[in-house]
Amino acid sequence: MLYTQKIVLRFSKKTWDKPIVYRLAKDYNLIFNILKASVFPKQESLMVLELSGTEENYHRGIEYLMSKGITVEPIEHDIERDEAVCIHCGACTAVCPTGALSIHRETMEVSFCTEMCVGCELCIKACPVRAMKASF
């Protein structure tokens, strides 16, 4: 049975350039789909992956990633915006890697698109008034 999970990978400076993700396919027979990547040479980078394969291979693949010093976090929270709290400043758009938080240029209103959100939670602390919330 196919096992599918969405995960967020955080790379440190040292590991970014290694073709780690490709090893997941080669050595662990996992199908991967890069939903979003913001990889900066020589700094911390972030990648959101959808991984599919057998459950056993999935767990072996995750272990492999962790052994390479990569932080792996499953996406398990739904992110919500408290509309009464949001002041439409736009600060969160600096960190949102997918464009789920974006600005309508005509009105400068900040919109939040749940479908595009990958649950990385970067916006939660970037929002000065704590309008973005993770629900468990």
Binding site: Q43, H88, C89, A91, T93, A94, M108, K125, P128, V129
Partner: protein, 388 residues
Amino acid sequence: MGAKKVQKSYEEINERIRKGEAVVVTAEEIIDIVEEKGVVEAAREVDVVTTGTFAPMCSSGAFLNFGHTSPKIKAHRVWLNNVPAYAGLAAVDIYIGATEPAKDDPLNKVYPGSFDYGGGHLIHDLVAGKEVELVVEGYGTHCYPNKLVQMRVTLDDFVDAFLFNPRNAYQNYNCAINLSDKVIYTYMGTLKPQGGNVNYCSAGQLSPLLNDPYYRTIGVGTKIFLGGGEGFVVWSGTQHNPHVPRGANGVVKGPAGTIAVVGDLKGMKPEWLRGGSIQGYGPTMIVGIGIPIPILDEEMARFTAVKDEEIYTQIVDYGVDYPQGVNKSYGEVSYKELKSGQIILNGKEIPTVPLSSYLKAKEIASILKEWIQDGWFTLGVPQKTLPI
């Protein structure tokens, strides 16, 4: 400009406001009016232009007098919801600053700190009518023997409570990039390495002081929208600096004028005074300010018709230069470019990020417009304009 074709006095305008006859428009609306009819006709028609801004303003805080207890205490150390307040004043007068973190805040020990609660949040909670915990320590004197007071209070329990912000409503501000090679967390928000984003913080064409570039009508005694209530400009703000390069239109091309403002906290609204947490930097307060600008003549009509494409600011590096006190500009951009979502710097497209809410600035300008149209909010005549 030679002899003015239109000349109106504050008294005339206030008379029209009281009669409900004043023509009031926002700093956005005046742009089209001037474009269509020219400055002279616009000045004839329009009496007041309203501006607005809603952004983190760190140099903010409130004076509070918590009233005498029995037995009496001379406050030496004070905490409100665990946030330290300054007590080096008379016995029960204190000042709570917007950026003061709570006593047990881990600060930046785990970087970047989140600064969940501070002075700005406390002021918001008071204005929202919430009960807060007041703890006062005294060292004991003959006249003030009490050494500890602990009580739960609301804004109503304070004898006096007024906002006193020594520096607000900056006339223009730098936009920030980060040319270092790691992410940084600044008061200008999160900045990605190697110029990954550029953050800016001004309401541009709606911003109060950008609509009166030479402070002809803004000074001590100017009546304003402050935190949802009525406030006043009481002095030039700290770091007020009119000697910044200006464009041909008179508009400053970097941070310049500032105002010190005051207003009764008991008349303010929680939605216009919001606690803020700037990741890695500290707590702050997001303050709503709106200033009405009288159209005394055609020059004021021209000033208030300024638009985003005519307002420029400097790109400053917060990765290395700013913290080291290096004053260098990497280029000049207009607010039109900044608001478009990206700018081009050295041939590279960089996404832009606002920190100041344009949407809320517009709402403030509209509320102020209504107040004036309703006839109760008249213009304060400045007794001394800001230094130029």
